[in-house]
């Protein structure tokens, strides 16, 4: 997994609430057996017109947001299915940070498995950032994971909270499976107890 340390980039906002995984990556893109290449399907029903051309009104299609790597979104972002295709699509498109007041649990978890950083802020902070994104490419944000802070274009800072373990894994690009396999002895002794206590399993 790629490390995440810090990022300075243009931010775009999607103020809608309850943006679900079907919206992030519609199911016709889920038939792949690969992890990559999903960027083309990201938000496809919003991004493209019926004839396949770009919808000029969609935020990521506006020239000033073409290079956005940060998304500021409405409440309950990523709700719906467990498809990891949602963070894969965001990542493949180039978005590495999503900021919202809340995230659906599975989506939130999935981000960390892919070197992406979801940030939870309070309502006031999120709407402040949304306002700032209106300034397009003049509104670059800097996200610093080590110090848990977002620096706005005027130099103001916003702190964010993050779980220690998740932060550690992201900073170091650690692979969960390898970490868990280090605890193989514990797993084996659990399995031994399980055979005695619940033999029907």
């Amino acid at each position: 997994m790629d490390k995440f340390k810090n990022l300075t980039a243009v931010a775009a906002s999607l103020p809608e609430i309850n943006i679900d995984t079907d919206k992030i990556i519609p199911k016709q893109y889920l038939k792949t057996i690969e992890r990559t290449g999903l960027g083309k399907g990201l938000f496809s029903e919003l991004r493209y017109n019926d004839d396949g051309t770009e919808n000029k009104n969609f935020v990521l299609n506006k020239p000033q947001y073409k290079n956005a790597k940060i998304l500021v979104a409405g409440d309950n972002f990523g709700c719906g299915s467990s498809r990891e295709h949602a963070p894969w699509a965001l990542l493949d498109y180039g978005i590495k940070v999503v900021i919202s007041t809340s995230f659906a649990d599975i989506f939130y978890n999935n981000c960390f498995k892919n070197g992406m950083l979801p940030i939870i802020l309070d309502e006031k902070e999120v709407s402040m950032l949304m306002e700032e994104t209106e300034r397009g490419s003049n509104a670059t944000l800097t996200v610093d994971l080590e110090n848990q802070e977002i620096t706005r274009s005027d130099g103001d800072k916003i702190n964010f909270k993050i779980d220690k373990f998740l932060k550690h894994c992201l900073l170091n690009g650690l692979d969960d499976i390898a970490l868990t396999l280090e605890k193989n002895k514990d797993i084996e002794s659990y399995e031994q107890d399980l055979r005695n206590q619940r033999p029907w399993l």
Binding site: K31, N76, S82, A104, D105, I177
Partner: protein
């Protein structure tokens, strides 16, 4: 550990391998269900790192999302779907995992198959790369959906890294009136707590109206926990649970079964267990409901009307609800009963079980589907289909003008050829009414099987309580 505990606390404690000082824990996973959409990248990951499936006997795979629901003896026409299905078959063979293919009578929607096979048991931890894994919570199992990286993690280690969630109790007291089903109960709960209301929590459903439900009704309730944002939903196991499990192919047998029941019995929440939050609903006051918007929280009584977003004060919320109405092509104030339909879909892991089909048969027997619409019934599994046929339900459906299909997810998410066309309006027994969920620009109203059946006959929504008279 003398403290009073909830059922979630107890299952958690019994599966804990260890906890870091910051609270992240490694928990053991007893049962792992696998399907074709969220697993190929996980198996690929194992292959690239030379890892094996740690416990193939705790893993069960079935194909469901992509399979066509028409005759499939001649294979799958859509090339991408076929590749995904073939990949699952090949991966299962290579890694030694039991697999029900599209021609196996036991094949069906993964969340119908698990309970049917007795693979789903109380007090277990169950995971699947699918958010509706919460269904299995109806048995008093801790069951939740995971992403593909976590699928790979479980395949390789039979464990999952988790933080403990909060306990949310949803107590549904009273007796549900005739015509008010498990589906109406869970939709009403989501309407009450909101689509993000359960975020970070595991819900325990309790109260008279919940224990009154059959196991299938309980599965319908737990299935949609995720639509309320919860990680999982749970119902304490009881005699109904044990009776359902007994003699299923993978259920414990003989002495083991007796021992297991003693353990399962001990799992119910202690009387004074602590919940972070409690919500109370009175089933006696609930009507049959319909969703009007593009979030499962957009719930309204069959006798109600489409609400007016202008009364919402929060700007983002107001805008979201307005755009939902636009998408659904509905005007505030429209009576729900005046909404006409083009398609009826009966099926999915929410309502594709035998009792659901019996409910539908009761409503449509001797009647005919409205000439302006198409209605399809997709059984949740091959065994559900077989049972329905043995009871003659298939004949009732076909005589009434329904299409009677092969088992799978079908139009619940429209990954296979069953889709709405742009602008079509569907009454669906599935669980999600998101934009495009059942087909590009398709419009979905979520309802119970009985309400969908009555709508199929009438061509518009009707109150099942009046319809039945």
């Amino acid at each position: 550990m003398s403290k009073s505990r909830t059922i979630y606390d107890k299952i958690w404690d019994d599966h804990l391998i260890n906890t870091n000082e910051d609270g992240t824990s490694l928990i053991y996973i007893d049962r792992h269900l696998v399907h074709e959409v969220t697993s190929p990248q996980a198996f690929e990951g194992l292959r690239m790192t030379n890892r094996k499936v740690r416990c193939p006997d705790k893993t069960l795979a079935v194909v469901d999302h992509n399979v066509p629901t028409t005759d499939r003896k001649n294979g799958i026409a859509d090339e991408e779907s076929r590749i995904q299905v073939e990949a699952l078959s090949k991966n299962c063979k290579e890694f030694g995992v039991e697999y029900f293919n599209e021609l196996d009578i036991r094949q069906g929607i993964v969340h119908v198959v698990g309970p049917e096979q007795g693979f789903t048991l109380p007090g277990t931890t169950i995971c699947c790369g699918d958010s509706h894994t919460s269904t299995h919570g109806a048995f008093g199992a801790l069951a939740h959906g995971i992403g593909t990286s976590e699928v790979e993690h479980i395949l390789a280690t039979q464990t999952l890294i988790q933080r403990k969630a909060k306990n949310l109790k949803v107590n549904v007291g009273g007796t549900a009136p005739d015509g008010v089903t498990a589906k109406d109960i869970i939709l009403s709960i989501i309407g009450e707590i909101g689509a993000g209301g359960g975020t970070g929590s595991v819900i325990e459903y309790s109260g008279k109206a919940i224990s009154d439900l059959t196991m299938e009704g309980r599965m319908t309730v737990c299935n949609m926990s995720i639509e309320g944002g919860a990680r999982a939903g749970l119902i304490g196991p009881d005699e109904k649970t044990f009776a359902y499990i007994k003699d299923r192919p993978r259920a414990p047998k003989g002495d083991d079964f007796i021992k297991a029941v003693t353990y399962w019995d001990s799992l119910n929440s202690d009387r004074d267990a602590f919940f972070d939050r409690e919500v109370y609903l009175d089933a006696a006051s609930l009507p049959p409901v319909v969703t009007w918007g593009t979030s499962p929280e957009d719930v309204v009584s069959i006798n109600g009307e489409v609400p007016d977003p202008d009364v919402i004060t929060d700007e983002n919320r107001k805008e979201s609800k307005k755009s939902a109405l636009e998408y659904m092509d509905l005007k505030p104030g429209t009576k729900i009963k005046d909404i006409k339909l083009d398609v009826i879909f009966i099926g999915s892991c929410t309502n594709g079980r035998i009792e659901d089909l019996r409910e539908v048969a009761k409503v449509v027997e001797g009647q005919h589907v409205n000439e302006n619409l198409n209605a399809i019934i997709v059984p949740g599994s091959g065994l559900v289909k077989e049972q329905a046929i043995s009871e003659g339900l298939d004949k009732i459906f076909m005589a009434a003008g329904f299409e009677w299909r092969e088992p799978g997810c079908s139009m619940c998410l429209a990954m296979n050829p069953d889709k709405l066309t742009p602008g079509q309006r569907c009454a669906s027994t599935s669980n999600r009414n998101f934009e495009g969920r059942q087909g590009f620009r398709g419009r979905t109203h979520l309802v119970s099987p009985a309400m969908a059946a009555a709508a199929a006959i009438a061509g518009r929504f009707v109150d099942i309580r009046e319809f039945a008279k």
